[in-house]
């Protein structure tokens, strides 16, 4: 501990340096440089990019959190490095350190500052979530944050083991394996599954919504640039989970209209075979499917998994 006249503990007679000030002066440039780099250099390139409103929101959320996290990390790391260099044990010094049991002011300041940071992050996160219609996250079947301006383009995403299909109810309800979206239009994804839990993740659109069987999970976005969209499955769904990868396209509105018209015509025969469009496809509720299974002698779910008194499945 410092000697009674305020000189340093090492007995050299020099005054005890103001460690707090030194640490602050070491920390400040590190934090500033890190923040500037994050905001200006790294920021525009942060994942998931800015191809849609939800992706841009997420990118800005990550940017702001990084700007807040960098000084905190810098403080702990700079303090740690300073401590390990300045306060390391010197050979021959077998004294114990000063008996500092605590410091109420420091503790209260720390708790106060961390609470403020954390609470403001929570508020910020809520604002970012509410603003752009849910920021691309799946909101369940009763979404509370919707885009303004009329009914969005409805795209139903059907997950099944192990391929995604997409149904467009506003264009006759045809079902395809390719995802096409028009730029500049609000899109509503209605995500559901036919068997186990999958998760629809359109990376460049910043959309992720779990596909649960018998449940409709809604997510919104608005693509703002044309380009390719990587669709992956983000919830382990069995053997070929890693292979449930496709590429979707965001194209101009006119190209999209051309595509829907031609696909609708092309798939007309198939669309007649499909069950009517609903938000979930419970095997028991799809009327034709039930009769068909019974005719095939598959009484009971999955051909005997649940016994003959149960409605049919799958």
């Amino acid at each position: 501990m410092p000697a009674a006249d305020g000189t340093a503990a090492d007995g050299t007679g020099r005054p005890e340096p103001n460690h707090g000030l030194r640490i602050f002066l070491l920390w400040l440039p590190v934090a500033l440089v890190a923040d500037l780099l994050i905001w200006f250099v790294w920021g525009p390139h942060l994942p998931p990019g800015a191809m849609s409103t939800s992706a841009a929101t997420q990118q800005s959320a990550i940017k702001i959190m990084s700007v807040m996290a960098a000084p905190v990390m810098a403080l702990v790391l700079v303090y740690g490095a300073y401590a390990l260099v300045v306060w390391r044990h010197r050979e021959g010094d077998d004294e114990d350190g000063p008996p500092i049991h605590g410091n109420t002011r420091v503790s209260v300041t720390w708790i106060g500052v961390t609470s403020v940071i954390v609470l403001s992050l929570a508020v910020f996160g809520t604002v970012e979530l509410a603003g752009p219609a849910g920021a691309g996250a799946g909101e369940g079947n009763t979404p509370i944050w919707r885009p303004s301006g009329g009914t969005p383009l409805q795209v139903q995403v059907i997950g099944q083991q192990w391929r995604w299909t997409y149904r467009y109810p506003q264009f006759g309800g045809f079902e395809t394996t390719s995802l096409m979206l028009p730029v500049g239009e609000n899109v509503q994804f209605n995500v559901t599954s036919l068997d186990v839990i999958h998760s629809f993740w359109a990376y460049q659109l910043g959309v992720k919504a779990d596909a649960n069987p018998g449940v409709n999970n809604v997510a919104y976005t608005k693509p703002e640039h044309t380009g390719q969209v990587q669709v992956r499955c983000a919830e382990l769904c069995g053997l070929w989970h890693a292979d449930m990868t496709t590429a979707g396209q965001v194209v101009s509105l006119s190209a999209f209209n051309t595509w829907t018209a031609s696909t609708r015509a092309q798939l007309a025969a198939l669309t007649r075979n499909l069950p009517p469009y609903t938000l979930t496809y419970d095997a028991n509720a799809v009327a034709q499917l039930g009769k068909v299974f019974q005719k095939a002698g598959l009484n009971g779910a999955g051909g005997g998994f649940y016994g003959s008194q149960y409605p049919v499945q799958p």
Partner: protein
């Protein structure tokens, strides 16, 4: 214990552990069904013959004889191999013939009743071209599908009479589905699977054989 005794015990224990690890890796982690090789063909086209069966002969298929399964005919020996792994050359036309011995199972999603990705755009059921099959109401019923999703290939296999239940079957009571597709230029493993929930007594019908390589799903290895 003396130092020598401790060292000896330690060496024996280490060898036992290493041996155990190698055993587990070799037996349980690296095993698998054989790959039928069609890549040796030099004629510019490859003919692949497969069959689907409701269940198998327990003497031939030791693991799960009650499961539905594909078999592939080896081009070299002409015998039926219990596997779903096969190898084809890149950028080649593959002519597939599937003998369907199993009976019909309704498909879960009617989308898979449509033929996509073949060279002619259709498949042949006993010589008659089909494009869109209504797996629920007919007139053609489906037993399984052969689909390679990354090539957008999907072909429903016509239902058969299901009289033979000890695969591999050799009689002529089967449906015949034929189609052709082009293998891609990029070599690698392309998974293929059945989209009909035919895993009897598994939830949703998608367990068991549907998720086990060697039965209803496998890999097409494209080599350059």
């Amino acid at each position: 214990m003396s130092l020598a005794a401790r060292v000896t015990t330690l060496i024996v224990a280490v060898l036992a552990v290493v041996g155990g690890v190698i055993f587990v890796v070799a037996h349980y982690l690296l095993g698998g069904p054989p790959t039928v090789d069609f890549a040796a063909a030099t004629s510019g086209q490859v003919n692949v013959t497969m069959q689907t069966d409701a269940s198998s002969d327990p003497a031939v298929v030791l693991d799960h004889p009650t499961w539905v399964s594909y078999f592939i005919k080896s081009p070299a020996s002409g015998s039926w191999v219990h596997t779903t792994l096969f190898q084809v050359p890149a950028h080649t036309r593959v002519n597939v013939t599937i003998y369907g011995y199993d009976g019909s199972t309704p498909v879960r999603n009617q989308v898979w009743g449509q033929v996509t990705g073949t060279t002619s755009g259709v498949a042949d059921y006993g010589g008659k071209p089909v494009k869109t099959v209504n797996g629920w109401n007919g007139p053609y019923l489906i037993q399984h599908t052969f689909a390679i999703p990354s090539l957008n290939l999907s072909v429903p296999v016509e239902a058969g009479p299901a009289t033979c239940t000890t695969g591999p079957c050799t009689n002529n009571q089967h449906s015949t589905t034929t189609f052709s597709f082009m293998t891609p230029a990029q070599p690698g493993a392309y998974r293929w699977q059945c989209f009909v929930p035919c895993g009897l007594s598994y939830l949703d019908g998608n367990g068991g054989p549907m998720q086990t390589i060697g039965y209803m799903t496998g890999n097409m290895q494209v080599v350059s």
